[in-house]
Symmetry: C3
Subunit: 145 residues, 3 copies
């Protein structure tokens, strides 16, 4: 019985050791997935263009399949995503290339903007600033052009 108990225990230990060996390594030991969130909160079309250029450069350099990009637009920057945006064509290109572009519904509400006032195919988040926090919590790098 003792022999059985001990040998059963050895098996248990071996299983536990194997589980430890197969466990995922701590995050800092892995090559991080490339993820960048851009903040656009200035009422300045040059900043909007810079954000779009930055996103394009990241895709060109890293390969668009290898980087997750999101542009969060809120506050005084919201004009970037209105129907009459001077960078509307470039936003459409970014969306087509897989960049996520989202508008802040808090801002829209404060400025009495409806979805029909905005560029087509963009996304929406309840609060831009909460989205910027969450993305950083998920390991996104932050860039404010």
């Amino acid at each position: 019985m003792l022999r059985n108990a001990c040998s059963k225990f050895v098996s248990m230990f071996a299983a536990a050791a194997l589980a430890l060996l197969l466990a995922p390594a701590p995050a800092q030991a892995q090559a991080p997935r490339n993820k960048v969130v851009f903040q656009v909160s200035d009422d300045n079309p040059q900043k909007w263009t810079l954000a779009l250029n930055n996103a394009k450069n990241l895709q060109d350099d890293l390969g668009s399949d290898l980087v997750d990009l999101e542009i969060v637009v809120y506050g005084p920057g919201i004009g970037m995503l209105k129907s009459d945006s001077p960078v509307g064509t470039r936003v459409a290109d970014a969306l087509k290339n897989g960049v996520k572009v989202v508008a802040c519904e808090n801002t829209m509400s404060a400025q009495q903007l409806a979805y029909k006032d905005m560029l087509p195919k963009i996304g929406y988040v309840p609060a831009g600033v909460v989205e910027l926090m969450k993305k950083q919590q998920e390991g996104y790098s932050y860039i404010r052009p």
Copy 2:
């Protein structure tokens, strides 16, 4: 004796296994505490208002008990926290709602500002830029309005 040794060993192993199970999971597996640090370094009252709006939105959306917020004011932004600040009332509201608001003593010294020249109840840090680094090291997300 062998029985004793082996059974004592089984107990030790069980205790070790239990300790492993009860050990805190690596950080990436836990829901992160919501923490955001804001940088205010522009001499622009609209930016000051935006920072205060952003802080309020975070508290409204997440619940003020569930998010740690700190606004670090330095360099050309220091006017936000001077006694005659155009956003003084809003800073007082933020402080009352649990937002930490700190002024950079390096900047105050460079601009010959004393504590009596500043809004009441704010906090102070020796160097705003060091504070911004430390907060990010502590897992705070960074927002620069």
Copy 3:
């Protein structure tokens, strides 16, 4: 034989336990190395001065040996690193003090700038925005003056 198996096993277990104890602690338990990356992307010499002041403050407060600093200059900020930069002397001082200062080659190419048009001894990166992402992935705090 059983005694042998069991005592060999005890040794194995002790070795495993020791290995666990000696294993590096998860990153969040260690004091992080002080590392800060600065973004300079504004065509505004006051911002350039602020970035250089911020870097100097970090070195003064933490000790220049105890903090890794990098200033990434790109887009409309590139004038900071051109030969005729109004902050050329201060950039030279920063370089001498161990601050890494790099220009974005994407931006240089877009503005038809050659290496000979730039300040001496600065560094170069293929894309400023990729560098900003990589540094954050390496644990650098991000400051945008």
